[in-house]
C-alpha cells in the first residue's frame, strides 16, 4: 500500500465523473444503468472498491472479456508443462489458445513438455451421439504417443456441458486403466461471467484431484515454499524463482508457470505459499490454509520499491538466517536498480499511463511505473472481484478513473479525454490506440518481451516502457502536408 494519497493535477472526482457520464451518454437507458456502477473515480482514502464487479457483461458493448474455458486452459492448466491438456469439444477454442499466452516452458516439446494443441475436434456426430467414447479413445492415444506425460487434463468447451456428456466418469475410468491422473474440468465457456470462474473451477479440480497425491522425495525443510499464481509469462518465473532461492528459500513448486504436475500435487507439505496473482489462485491458498494449515502471503514483484517491500514482508515470516539473506539480496540489487532508474527516469518522469488488464497487473504494476516517475491515470480489470478493487484503491492516485470490464467505446473515450502517454492493455486494444498515435504495450503477454517480474524483469520493463513512449516513430504519425 502506498503511504500517502496522491493526486494528479487536473483530475478531480467531478472531472472523472463528467468523463464517465459523457461516455455513457450514447448508451440505451438499460445498458447505461447496468454500466454506470462499474465506472467511478477512485476513492483512495477509503481503501475500498469504488466500482461494482464480477457481473454479467452487457451484451453488444464490445467487452474484452474471455470465458471460463480461457481461464482454465490459458491461465491455470495450460502452463503445467508435463501434462497433455485436451481441449474437449470443437477445434476452435484450443486452436485460438494455442501458444498465445506466452507461458514459457522448459523441456522438450512432445517429449517432456506438451506446449501443443490437443483436441477432440468435435464433429456433428459427436454433438448428436455424445463425445464420451471419443474421449476415452483419445486419452489412450495420448498416453500411448506421449508416455512421459505425467497426466492429462480434460478441459470442456461449451457443447460438452450442453449435450450432457459425463467427462468425470470417463476420466475416472481411464485414469485407473492408464494409471495416470486424468483431471476432468467442467470449464465450459458459458459458465459464469468471465475467465474468473474458469480459474475457480480449475482450482477446485486441483483440490479434488491433485493436491496431496504426491510427496516430495527429499526431506522437508523450514524454508520450503510454493510460488502460487506465477505463470512464467515471458519467463517471469525464471526471474522470481531464482530470486526467492537467492533469499534462501526452497521453491518446491510453481503454480503453474513452467509447472510440474507432481510438484503441484505435493505442495501440501510446504511451509508457506507465496501468491502473486491473487485473483486466479487465492482459492487454493485458502484451501491449503484450511486443510493443511499452510499460511500464505500476497507479494508484488514489479519494480524495485514493491520488490523490496515484498521481500522484507516475506523475511518477517522466517528466521534471522532468511532475514539476513534478504537484506543481502536487497543490498546487492539496490544499486543496480538505481542505475536503471537513473537511465530511464529522466525520459519518463511525469508521463502518464492507463491500464486495462487481467488478474493482478492493473494494481501490481502501478508501483513499477512510479519507480520510473510515471503516474497511473486510469486502471481497470477485465474480470476482477471486489477484493481486487479494494486492493487497487490505495495504489491509484485519488479521483482517477476506475473501470470494470469497460467496453471498447468507454476505454477509447477515456483515453481520448485523458490523453495518456502510454496504454497498457491487450492485443484487442493495442492497434486501436496505436492508430490514435498513443504508445502501447501489451500487458498480458509483455508484448513478446519479458520477463517483467523480479529485479531481472524491471530492467526489461524499464527498457520497454521507454522504447514504447519515446520511439521516434510516433513523431511521424502526423503527415507534414
Amino acid at each position: 500500500m502506498s503511504d500517502k494519497i496522491r493526486k494528479i493535477e487536473g483530475i478531480t472526482k467531478e472531472s472523472t465523473q463528467a468523463m464517465i457520464d459523457e461516455a455513457l451518454s450514447v448508451y440505451p437507458e438499460k445498458a447505461r444503468k447496468k454500466r454506470a456502477p462499474h465506472l467511478a473515480p477512485n476513492d483512495a482514502a477509503s481503501g475500498c472498491a469504488s466500482v461494482k464487479s464480477n457481473k454479467k457483461t452487457v451484451p453488444g458493448v464490445m467487452s474484452a472479456r474471455g470465458c471460463a474455458y480461457a481461464g482454465a486452459k490459458g491461465v491455470v492448466w495450460g502452463p503445467i508443462r508435463d501434462m497433455v491438456h485436451v481441449s474437449h469439444g470443437p477445434v476452435g477454442c484450443g486452436w485460438y489458445s494455442w501458444g498465445t499466452r506466452r507461458n514459457m516452458m522448459s523441456g522438450i516439446t512432445g517429449v517432456t513438455n506438451f506446449a501443443m494443441q490437443f483436441t477432440s475436434d468435435f464433429q456433428e456426430k459427436d454433438i448428436v451421439y455424445g463425445g464420451d467414447k471419443k474421449l476415452k479413445t483419445l486419452l489412450a492415444e495420448a498416453h500411448d504417443l506421449f508416455p512421459l506425460a505425467k497426466g492429462i487434463s480434460v478441459l470442456s468447451e461449451c457443447p460438452v456441458g450442453l449435450i450432457g456428456d459425463d467427462i468425470n466418469s470417463v476420466a475416472k475410468t481411464s485414469a485407473k486403466e492408464l494409471d495416470i491422473p486424468i483431471i476432468p474440468c467442467n470449464c465450459e465457456g458459458f459458465r459464469g461471467v468471465s475467465q474468473s470462474l474458469g480459474h475457480h473451477i480449475s482450482n477446485d479440480t486441483i483440490r479434488d484431484y491433485i493436491i496431496g497425491t504426491r510427496e516430495f522425495a527429499e526431506p522437508e525443510s523450514p524454508y520450503d515454499i510454493a510460488l502460487i499464481g506465477e505463470y512464467n509469462i515471458g519467463g517471469d518465473a525464471w526471474s522470481t524463482k531464482p530470486l526467492l532461492e537467492e533469499c534462501g528459500l526452497n521453491v518446491k513448486a510453481v503454480w503453474t508457470g513452467d509447472g510440474e504436475l507432481e510438484k503441484i500435487a505435493a505442495t501440501h507439505t510446504v511451509k508457506l505459499n507465496v501468491i502473486h496473482c491473487y485473483r486466479s489462485m487465492n482459492y487454493m491458498c485458502k484451501v491449503m490454509e484450511e486443510k493443511f494449515g499452510i499460511p500464505w502471503i500476497e507479494l508484488n514483484f514489479f519494480g524495485p520499491t514493491k520488490i523490496k517491500q515484498s521481500l522484507r514482508a516475506l523475511a518477517e515470516l522466517f528466521d534471522d538466517n532468511i532475514k539476513a539473506k534478504v537484506e543481502a539480496v536487497i543490498a546487492k540489487y539496490d544499486p543496480i536498480m538505481q542505475g536503471i532508474i537513473e537511465e530511464y527516469k529522466p525520459r519518463l518522469d511525469g508521463k502518464t499511463v492507463m491500464l486495462l488488464v487481467g488478474g493482478l497487473r492493473p494494481r501490481h504494476t502501478i508501483g513499477a511505473y512510479e519507480d520510473l516517475g510515471m503516474d497511473c491515470v486510469g486502471s481497470g480489470y477485465e474480470f476482477a472481484h471486489t477484493d481486487d478493487y479494494d486492493r487497487t484503491a490505495p495504489e491509484m492516485p485519488d479521483a482517477t478513473v476506475v473501470y470494470d470490464d469497460p467496453s471498447e467505446y468507454e476505454f477509447e473515450k477515456f483515453a481520448d479525454t485523458l490523453k495518456p502517454d502510454l496504454i497498457g492493455s491487450g492485443i484487442k486494444e493495442k492497434y486501436v490506440f496505436q492508430k490514435m498515435g498513443i504508445p502501447f504495450r501489451q500487458m498480458h503477454s509483455w508484448d513478446y518481451s519479458g520477463p517483467y517480474h523480479g529485479y531481472k524483469g524491471f530492467e526489461v520493463f524499464a527498457r520497454d516502457i521507454d522504447m514504447a513512449i519515446n520511439s521516434p516513430t510516433w513523431n511521424l504519425v502526423k503527415a507534414p502536408f
Partner: protein, 489 residues
C-alpha cells in the same frame, strides 16, 4: 485432499535422462509415425480454426459492418485476437455474451439486447450476425429472433442484418466465411435486381484470403486492364489502414450500395472455389451476367488464366504494361530457378492456398513432396492429384488428407524435405526437422508485414521466389564450410 481418482499416493520420481533420450529419439522413428497415423480420435496441432472466425473475416469486408457473435463472449475475444495478431490491426466485433441462463431459455434476449446496444454505441451500417457453438447446440432460431428484434425496434427495420449459422463442430473457418458471405449478399441484393440493368463491372470474390496485399493486387491489375470491379468482400482497407492519429472503427470494406448492385454485374468471378462454393452456387442462380469460377491465381500460369478470362469476359486486350510485368516475373524466376529446382517442400493450409502453392512449386521445378490438408474432401484430393499428374515434378508426391501438424512432424522427420510452406503454427515441426518455414498462409503471428505482400498475380510470384531463394542462399552462407563461403551465389 479428495483424490477423487483414487490413485495411489506416490513419491515424486524424476524421469531418468536416458528415458527422456529414448523417447526423444523414438518420436522421430518410422514406428512412431505409424502409431501417430493410426490415431482415431485425438487431433494434435490442427491446421484449421472454426467457422465463425471465417464469418468474421467476411463481415469485415463490408463498409460500416459490425461483426456480431451470437454465443459466448469468449468466442468473440478469440476471433478478434487471432485477427489482431495476424494483421496487427484492430478487429472490432461484439458478442451478446450468452451464459448459463441462455442455455436454459435460449439466446433471444441476449441477441436483442446486444443488437440494441451495439447499434446505439457503434452506429454500424450493417450488423452481420453469426453463431458460435452454444446457440447451435441448443437450436436457437436466428430467423425468428432477428425478425422479432426488428419488430421490437432493437434496430431499425431497414438496417441490414444478415445472419449465418456457423457451427464450430462442422467444417473450418473457410466454411464460415462462405456462409456469412452468401448471407450478406442475399441480404444486400434483395430486390435490387433490375431487368436490363448492367453495372458493367466485374464482381470479384477473392475467397477466404487473409492477405490484404492480394486484394490490392487484384484491384491494381484490374485497373490496369480497365475493368471496373466490385470486390466481394474487400478487407484490404479494413486490415491495412493508415496510422494517422485517428481511429476509425470501420476503416474499409466494400460499399454497401456496390455490393447491392453487384447482382446486376456484367460478370462474377470467384477465385476461391473451395472457400466460396455456397456463395458461388447461389450467385449462379441469382446474379445477372456471366459466372466464372477460377483457381486462386498463384503462379504464372494461374495468373495468365485469370487475366485472360477477365480479358475475355470484358472484351479487353491485356495491356502492354501487364505483359511487361509478366515478363519481369518470368525474368525473376528464370534468374533464380536454380535455387529452387528439385528442392522438396511440404505444404499445408486451406485448399485454395494449397492449390496455389502446388502450382507455383511445380512451375519452379520444385517438388511439393508432402501436401497436407487438415479438412478436405475427395474432390480436393482429386484436384490436387490432377495438378501433380500434370507435371514430372509432381511424381511421387503424397497428399495427406484430414491430417494435422503432428502428423506433419512425423512426415518431416521420417521422409524429409528442404522446406515447409504454411502458417506460423508449422514452426514447431519445421524447427524439429531443421528446415525453414515459409509463412504464406494464415495466421502469421511471428513475422511482420507479411499480409501486405501479395502472393497472387505476377508480383506474388516475385515475392515468393525472392523470399524462398534468398532463404536457401542465407542457409548456405550460414552453414557452409569456410572454404565454400564465397562472394557470389
Amino acid at each position: 485432499m479428495s483424490n477423487l481418482l483414487e490413485l495411489e499416493v506416490k513419491k515424486i520420481v524424476e524421469t531418468p535422462p536416458e528415458e527422456i533420450e529414448r523417447v526423444k529419439n523414438w518420436i522421430n522413428t518410422e514406428e512412431y509415425k505409424e502409431k501417430n497415423f493410426a490415431r482415431q480420435a485425438l487431433v494434435i496441432n490442427p491446421a484449421h480454426a472454426c467457422q465463425p472466425l471465417g464469418a468474421q473475416l467476411a463481415a469485415h469486408g463490408f463498409e460500416g459492418t459490425l461483426p456480431f457473435v451470437h454465443g459466448s463472449q469468449g468466442c468473440a475475444s478469440y476471433y478478434r485476437s487471432t485477427l489482431n495478431r495476424h494483421f496487427r490491426e484492430p478487429a472490432p466485433a461484439v458478442s451478446d455474451s450468452m451464459t448459463e441462463d441462455g442455455a436454459v431459455f435460449g439466446g433471444q434476449n441476449n441477441l436483442h439486447e446486444g443488437l440494441e446496444n451495439a447499434y446505439s454505441i457503434y452506429k454500424p451500417k450493417m450488423i452481420a450476425v453469426f453463431t458460435s457453438c452454444m446457440p447451435e447446440v441448443i437450436g436457437d432460431d436466428l430467423t425468428a429472433f432477428i425478425k422479432n428484434a426488428k419488430q421490437k425496434k432493437c434496430v431499425p427495420a431497414e438496417l441490414p442484418t444478415p445472419y449465418a449459422n456457423t457451427p464450430s463442430f462442422n467444417g473450418t473457418h473457410i466454411h464460415g466465411y462462405d456462409s456469412m458471405l452468401v448471407s450478406i449478399l442475399q441480404t444486400l441484393t434483395e430486390g435490387k435486381q433490375v431487368e436490363g440493368r448492367c453495372t458493367g463491372k466485374l464482381n470479384l470474390i477473392p475467397g477466404c484470403d487473409f492477405n490484404t496485399g492480394d486484394y490490392r493486387e487484384y484491384k491494381r491489375l484490374l485497373k490496369e486492364m480497365g475493368v471496373p470491379v466490385t470486390v466481394l468482400a474487400d478487407i484490404s482497407d479494413t486490415f491495412d489502414s493508415p496510422c494517422d492519429g485517428s481511429y476509425h472503427i470501420y476503416a474499409g470494406g466494400t460499399k454497401l450500395e456496390d455490393a447491392a448492385d453487384s447482382i446486376n454485374g456484367k460478370a462474377t468471378m470467384t477465385l476461391g472455389p473451395y472457400s466460396t462454393p455456397k456463395t458461388f452456387t447461389w450467385i449462379k442462380d441469382n446474379y445477372s451476367g456471366k459466372h466464372v469460377s477460377m483457381p486462386l491465381p498463384m503462379g504464372i500460369a494461374k495468373t495468365d488464366a485469370f487475366l485472360m478470362k477477365v480479358a475475355d469476359l470484358f472484351g479487353k486486350e491485356i495491356p502492354e504494361s501487364i505483359r511487361n510485368e509478366r515478363g519481369r516475373a518470368v525474368d525473376a524466376i528464370t534468374d533464380s530457378h536454380q535455387y529452387m529446382h528439385g528442392k522438396k517442400f511440404a505444404v499445408y493450409g486451406d485448399p485454395d492456398y494449397l492449390m496455389g502453392y502446388v502450382s507455383f512449386l511445380l512451375e519452379m521445378g520444385a517438388i511439393p513432396h508432402h501436401i497436407l490438408c487438415s479438412r478436405g474432401t475427395k474432390k480436393i484430393e482429386k484436384d490436387l492429384q490432377a495438378l501433380l499428374d500434370g507435371s514430372m515434378y509432381g511424381k511421387g508426391c503424397k497428399i495427406h488428407m484430414n491430417k494435422d501438424l503432428w502428423h506433419l512432424r512425423s512426415l518431416l522427420v521420417t521422409d524429409p524435405v528442404d522446406a515447409v510452406i504454411g502458417d506460423s503454427h508449422g514452426k514447431f515441426a519445421a524447427r524439429d526437422a531443421q528446415v525453414p518455414l515459409f509463412r504464406f498462409g494464415f495466421p502469421i503471428m511471428d513475422r511482420v508485414n507479411k499480409h501486405r505482400y501479395p502472393l497472387v498475380g505476377y508480383q506474388g510470384v516475385v515475392n515468393m521466389v525472392t523470399e524462398i531463394c534468398n532463404k536457401f542462399i542465407d542457409i548456405k552462407d550460414e552453414t557452409c564450410e569456410d572454404q565454400q563461403f564465397e562472394l557470389m551465389r
